[in-house]
Structures are given as C-alpha cells and as structure tokens.
Amino acid sequence: MTVLLKAQGVSRAFGGLKALQSCDLEVEKGSITGLIGPNGSGKTTLFNVMTGYVKADAGTVTFDGTDITGFEPDKVFARGIGRTFQLTRIFGRMTVLENMLIAIQHEEGWLRGMTRSKSTKAEVDNAREWLDFVGITRLADLDAGSLSYGQRKLLELAYVLVANPDVILLDEPAGGVNLTLINQIAEKIRELNAQGKTFLIVEHNMEFVMNLCDSVTVMNQGTNLVSGKPADVRANPLVLDAYLGGGDDDDEDEEVSVNG
C-alpha cells in the first residue's frame, strides 16, 4: 500500500494554545482512515492545515509524493483533496444546483469563467448525477439555504464529489444527523471507496468509525497517540485513558461507545 496523504511533524499554536504538537498522520491510498480523539485534541486543526486553511508553524504535508505544505485552499482542492466542514458550509442564497457548479471550476482559469455561461449541459448532467447519488436531486432548484441540516450535509458531500477528488476529508459527517441518514452516508462512503476514493474521516460516533474504517488514528492533546486497526485501537489502554481519564467534559455518548 502506498501513502497518499501524509502529515509529518505538524505543529501549530494559537497564541499560547498548542493545538498541534509534532503530529503525524498517514492516509493510505484506497483506505478509509478514521481520526478520533477528545474535543480539542486538534483533529480539525490538522484538517485545516492539510487543506490550506491554516498555516503550520512546523512540519510538512505531502500528497501523492508532492510537498503541498502552505498551499492555498484552492490549490489544495485543485490537486485533488476535497473536504467538508464540521459545521456544514453551503452557499445559502444560491440554488442547490448552483452550489454544485461552484465546485467544478478548478479546471479552468478565472478569465475563462468570465466569458462562459455558468454551466454546460454536461456539467449540469454530471452535477445532477451526484445529487442523485446522495439522493437530493428533487431539491436541485431550491435555495440551498432552505435545506434541512441533514440535506446540507448531503449537499456538501455531493459538491465535493462533483470535482472528482482523489481523497476526501470528512469532518464529522455523522454529527447531528439521524441514524437512517448516518447509515445512508456510511453506505455512500463504502460505495465510493469501492470505486477507489480515499477517505479521511473525523468522527465522534465510535460505531460509525469502527464499522467503516480500515485504520484509525487517535489524537490527544495535539499529537497522534495510536494508529492501527479499529479493533486494536479500541482495546488500547492509552486510548481508553485519553477518552476517559482526560478530564474533558465531552458528551457521554462517545465515552460509552468506546467502552462498548
């Protein structure tokens, strides 16, 4: 197996808070990798560093053998790394279909964008296919701002997929959505993974992570604690300690599900 996405010795401080301290992470090509850890352990910051939203103080990020440390988010996306956000971010005053069309354009220069219409028929068809894939085609012409939370999650997933990235970073895809939708999302991820897409998933829902992921990395206090198969990680005393003994006032669910 080759490593597709790799963070090495990444550190980042916000004022006095060391959000990341020499953190390592490897995502193998074609895998579904889980990233778990207590709240505030630096998972989202690591995502932000890898996708260019936050500059690392130290360390490197490599993608497919190329050093992409410090790349702007649009460049990172153009390379083939798509991501979603923990709090879904969609374009509320544009239609669902227009949301989809935004993501396609990394293929062309900005000047070209001025002289062409907002979509070709092929692009619309492609966008509709992906909407269909996540099951929200019927909402295509609505303002995205009128979607429910779960529908927004699906839209965010769809408009990342429409750009055909090689690796997709999902920040809490199951957060705040009902069980049926969680299963639906998990199923979609498996389906895409079977087609060769690589996933890196931050998630608090242990059942979701343990069932879905090939390998799991646990973070604690800004660094990677343990990596391995879900079953091994689950039994690791360090992990139990990080979750249970860390003194974090996390919600009860994840502590229970780690035990269970």
Partner: protein, 339 residues
C-alpha cells in the same frame, strides 16, 4: 412564456425611456432625466460587484470623480472643440477609472465586511483631499470645461441618450455577469468566501476583476456628468453622499438583483431632483426618503424587487404543493439578511 414576457417588459421600459425626451420637452424635466439615468448606470454597475459579491463598497465616487476629472483635464488641455466629440472621452474616463480601481481593489479587497467598508471610505477621502489640494485639479475652484453652446431648449437631449446608453451597457454587463460562471463565483464569495476558496474559486482574482469592472460604467457616468455640468468641483464629484446614495438605491430596489438598483435609482433620484426643483428645497427629500426607507427596511428587508420575487415564488410553490402530494418547497429562509 414567462421569459418571453420578461423580455417584453425590458423592451417596453426601454421604449418609454427612449421617447421620454421627445414627449417631455421641458428642459428642466429633461435635466432630471439625465441625472436619473446617470445614477441608474452607477447603481447598476455598483451592484454588479457589491450586490453580487456582498462587498459593500462605499467609495465608488472615486471612480465617478476620476471619470469626471479625466473628461475635464483632457478636454481642457487638448483644447477640444466644445461639442459632441467630447463624448468620446467618456469611455476613456471609464478606462482611467478601471486603472485606478485595480490598485485600490488590490489593497481594499484584502479585508472583508466592515473593514472593507471602512477602507473604501478612507480611500475615498484620500481622493477628495487630493482633488482639493493638487494644482492640476484646480483645487476647490474646480475646473471649467470647454463651453458647449447648444440651444438650452434641447441641451440635455444628447446627454440623455448617452446616459441611456451607459445604463444599457451597465445593465447588459450585469446580466451577462449574472449568467456567467464568474457571476456564480461572485455570489459564492458573498455566501461563504472561505468555502468558495476551498472549492477552487480563485477568490482574489475574481473579486479584483469584479471590482475593476464595476468602475468602468461609473467612470463613464462621471465623465458625462462633467461634460453636462461644464464645471466640476472636487466636493461634488468626490461626494460622500454619492457613495451612500448608490448603495441605498441598490438596497432599496433589491441588492444583488438585476432590476433592483435600476428601480431604486429611478425612484429615488428622480424624486429627489423633482422635489428639489419644484419646492426649491434641498432637504425636503431627506424627510421623505427617511420615511420611505423605514417602510422598505421594515417590510421588505431585501428590497422591493426581492420582496415581490419571493412572494411570487411562494405563490408558485403553494400552487405546486396543492397540485401534487409532494411536500411544499420551503420558503427562502434568509429573508431579513440585509448584507
């Protein structure tokens, strides 16, 4: 059918504007027409960037003034024969405005929201101070352009049609941008700039292009204004109330819509000019405008045009819902957000 009907409305509106100076031969009413059209062009062009992208620029009179001074300085120093040939300087005024907009945008667009607004205001005052204090601008005394000796009974008419041409240009440009991918990118920036960046939108280039593009028609309007007046003063072409007016006209009509700024400028500027001319009272319109704005902001927070579009959409959705068993389309949720 509905889209055909929409085109018909545009044609009717254009026809009304085209025959106005023929029907209305009173020179002072024709003058009101010129000012109204100039503001319509500026509001439409301002909206093409600020309305679509959400970057509320309050320094657009910089471009108006630059256009005006381009017209004045070149016509004076080139000893141009007073007359219609001077209209050719209007596009040049637009281009000079764009040339100024590029470095201004490059600086101002590094910041967002309130900071952006403040920076554009600051840049505006730099230009006003410059125009007052430099020698080549004539200082507070301003500049006198070559005197055009057209008959006062039809003096305004050529300006009216040139201004109408600028309005058409600004409107067509807004429509084209709205339908282009570039316009889609501007609106994505308005909704969530960071997310747009993360989906590959080159936000820096897109913003700067939109900003510079919107300066063109405003510069042209400024140039035509200078020629129309025959005399310009720094405090009138670099005018803070111009900045606010253009923005308010767009808010009033409907920020980010195609017809909103046109409608806002048409109603507000013609009303202001009419009231000023009729009652020779410069501040009467302020009272009326205040009342009008209170009503619009309270009951139609997204502007008049958006208000009616929303209502029509809801009505259509209700019809669709009662016609089929599928759940009704939820109404747009962001009513109430102004910027």
């Amino acid at each position: 059918m509905t889209s055909k009907l929409k085109y018909l409305w545009w044609v009717v509106a254009l026809a009304v504007f085209a025959v106005y100076p023929v029907v209305e031969t009173n020179p002072s009413d024709q003058t009101i027409g010129v000012y109204t059209l100039l503001f319509m062009a500026c509001a439409a062009s301002w909206n093409m960037f600020s309305g679509y992208s959400g970057y509320i620029a309050l320094g657009s009179s910089v471009f108006y003034g630059v256009g005006a001074y381009t017209m004045a300085l070149i016509s004076i120093h080139a000893h141009m024969a007073p007359g219609a040939a001077m209209f050719w300087l209007a596009p040049l005024g637009g281009l000079v405005a764009v040339a100024f907009a590029i470095p201004i945008g490059w600086i101002a667009l590094r910041v967002r929201r309130h900071t952006f607004v403040v920076i554009t205001i600051a840049i505006f005052f730099i230009f006003q101070l410059g125009a007052i204090n430099f020698n080549f601008t004539g200082g507070t005394g301003g500049l006198s352009l070559p005197f055009i000796q057209w008959n006062t009974s039809y003096y305004s008419v050529p300006f009216y049609y040139v201004a109408l041409g600028i309005v058409i240009f600004a409107t067509v440009l807004s429509a084209v941008v709205r339908r282009s991918r570039f316009g889609l990118q501007l609106m994505a920036i308005r909704d969530d700039e960071d997310r747009a960046l993360g989906l590959g939108v080159k936000v820096g280039a897109v913003k700067l292009t939109g900003f510079a593009l919107s300066a063109f028609a405003i510069g042209m309007a400024g140039a035509v204004y200078a020629m129309f007046q025959g005399q310009i003063y720094p405090q009138f072409v670099f005018d803070p109330t111009f900045d606010v007016s253009v923005a308010l006209m767009s808010f009033f009509g409907g920020l980010g819509t195609l017809t909103g700024p046109l409608l806002g400028a048409l109603v507000l500027e013609s009303a202001q000019q009419y009231l000023t001319a009729t009652y020779s009272n410069n501040s009467l319109y302020l009272i009326l405008f205040g009342a009008l704005f209170l009503i619009v902001i309270n009951f139609m927070p997204r502007g008049i045009v958006s208000f009616f579009i929303d209502r029509r959409r809801r009505a259509l959705a209700a019809v669709a819902a009662s016609a089929s068993a599928t759940p009704p389309a939820p109404a747009p949720s962001n009513v109430g957000s102004l910027v």
